[in-house]
Symmetry: C2
Subunit: 363 residues, 2 copies
DNA sequence: TTGTATGCGTTATCAA
DNA sequence: TTGATAACGCATACAA
């Protein structure tokens, strides 16, 4: 099958055969009347700093020869000899490009691609689905290091990679795995800032609407919320956090109205894949006949779902997904280069929005 | 600089060093108590047909050893030795994930990823921006073959790849390069079908609004339009095609009204990145006070821009981007396997929509 | 300043 | 059925 061994008989005469094959350094060398090593030196001359170990004359001869032969590097050989692939892996347990765009990795990938390109790395995309074997993760070792997206990367195998010293970076806080490097958004600070913004406007009774899971992103937001409330001397009673399995079912107009009558002047909801908490809150407030920000102020701990783009912009913060992707690549590149780790948290951008104002009158 | 040569002293004892480095076949061999060549035989056993030149026992020993060491092939070495990588390249001259989502390759990539995964290939994303050198494209040779997106891949280098027998597939019709394989949407047939649909409704005077460039996608649409008109005996006068540098400037309410008074009963616009032609046509008809499909029927040769998703669904066709990506991968895989080319055109799906009806009364 | 020699990890041929 | 061994194209110590 393989039409390999395209070259001439063993050993001899590298230049004479291979009509259809691209020139190698040996042929350039022959034409220029120098050795292959010299060609390598000239052709891979580091642009950075000194490269002056070659006489200008032979340099030109080699360059001319290479040009006239149409020489280009063979990346495989180059990488083999240099012992690096210049390849960074991107692994997502689900498809990297889901048809359901709702929770796609696209925004992260923008930053990942930019940063990788800037550093001269190419990207290898691994999909968890593509090879179902138990050692599916070991394929990633083909890259110099690997970035993991999503929360589904199996812990055991990740642990193995880390233990072997393979450079791994997880996108999103993930501390239960000892020694796993990660990069995440600083939800705590950002959420606290939202509370502080409300407090500065005069609010003291604020309620958080969150879903009933224990994703780190949710936990962090709640922590920031509580911290913020404490810092401003706000009222963090037991009812300050509304934790509901189905926000739409539990955050009703009556509930909201009752809370407002009880003195609550502002609500914040956490951002999730589906935007369920924010949708439920928004609908309940509207249905309760409350004006925003006239009667109540609203905050969203994250960005609004894309289909609500035309609605009033919620006060809150934007998750810097591009920057997160870029930061992850920076960290990974540093690890590949054997350097030390760095600050894993990326700041979110506060968004003033249009849904927060001074506390309204109580109805 | 390069901390290559990481391994132990020349020659000896491959297994004892390299704690942080990926295992090679030699180490697997040592652990399994066989030679490196045997490992290669076992690990690259072709699944197709016979692979039975190794005893089942040593086979298992090797497999176990490889697994326990977390062995994976080195893509560079594998490629250098003239074997295959199971790596398919995806090259886009512009960023694959542009911040400007307008013309992103995302929909194609969905299909590309699915089909690649189904065939056991991983994807390497080569970003054009990373290396501007004259051999920027040569990096793709690391993969077994490469898919090119967008119209910006420099012809000279593409030609070189093709001439060297490197498997290349271009996404989108591209015939000016002799021997370049491509996969594209069948805009001609789809556009003709739109005209025929209008003709079946009774229309005879139809006008095409297109932009003033010569992209193959535009040319194909016009060709289908003209063919369709001819086939149904429609009136393809010199004014049947409105070719304008700035549709918004030239497709005005007056113009449309004049055409309608002259007997035109239907308009079709081409789809572009920006959707400019369709926007202009839609606005002009609306401003002319014409009802659709009451007074005039409209067709769109492609899909509507995402921000017009709430507007009435235009009659026309959908470009099967997923399928295009998948078809491109299929073709590329076939070329890698040394098989022959196939049908390059993928059919578009007709979309009935809500903007076409019987010809209206003339005002 | 340039050439020689060797290794990078894999595949493939051939002999045992 | 398995083990040596020779490429593959390039980079790089080291010698000249």
């Amino acid at each position: 099958m393989e039409q390999s061994r395209k070259r001439a008989k063993p050993g001899r005469n590298p230049g004479s055969v291979g009509r259809t094959s691209r020139p190698r350094q040996a042929e350039v060398a022959q034409l220029a009347g120098v050795s292959q090593a010299t060609v390598s030196l000239v052709l891979s001359a580091r642009t950075d700093g000194k490269a002056a170990t070659i006489s200008e004359e032979t340099r030109q001869r080699v360059l001319d020869a290479a040009r006239s032969l149409g020489y280009v590097h063979d990346p495989a050989a180059r990488r083999l000899a240099a012992a690096r692939n210049n390849l960074l892996g991107v692994f997502s347990f689900t498809a990297t490009f889901p048809t359901d765009v709702q929770h796609s990795y696209y925004p992260f990938l923008v930053g990942v691609e930019q940063e990788a390109a800037a550093r001269g790395y190419d990207l290898v995309l691994f999909t968890g689905s593509s090879a179902g074997g138990p050692d599916a993760l070991s394929r990633v070792r083909l890259a110099d290091g690997c970035l993991f997206l999503g929360r589904h990367a199996p812990g055991a195998e990740l642990k193995r990679l880390v233990a072997d010293g393979f450079p791994v970076v997880h996108l999103g806080r993930r501390e239960e795995l000892e020694g796993l490097a990660w990069v995440g958004a600083d939800y705590v600070s950002a959420s606290r800032a939202v509370v502080e913004h409300l407090a500065a406007l005069g609010h003291r009774r604020i309620v958080l609407v969150r879903e009933d899971d224990d994703a780190p992103a949710s936990t962090d937001r709640q922590r920031g919320f509580v911290e913020g409330l404490a810092a401003v001397g706000g009222d963090a009673g037991p009812e300050a956090v509304l934790r509901c399995a189905d926000p739409a079912g539990e955050v009703t107009a009556e509930r909201v109205r009752a809370l407002v009558e009880d003195g609550v002047t502002a609500f914040v909801a956490e951002e999730t894949d589906t935007g369920a908490a924010w949708r439920a809150l928004d609908a309940a407030v509207r249905e309760a006949g409350l004006g925003c920000p006239g009667d109540v102020s609203l905050g969203l701990l994250g960005g609004p779902p894309p289909d609500l783009a035309t609605a009033p912009v919620p006060m809150g913060f934007d998750v810097p997904r591009h920057q997160l992707g870029a930061a992850a690549v920076r960290l990974l590149a540093a690890m590949v280069a054997g350097e030390e780790t760095h600050e894993p948290l990326v700041a979110c951008a506060f968004r003033t929005g249009e849904t927060a104002g001074p506390p309204g009158r109580r109805p």
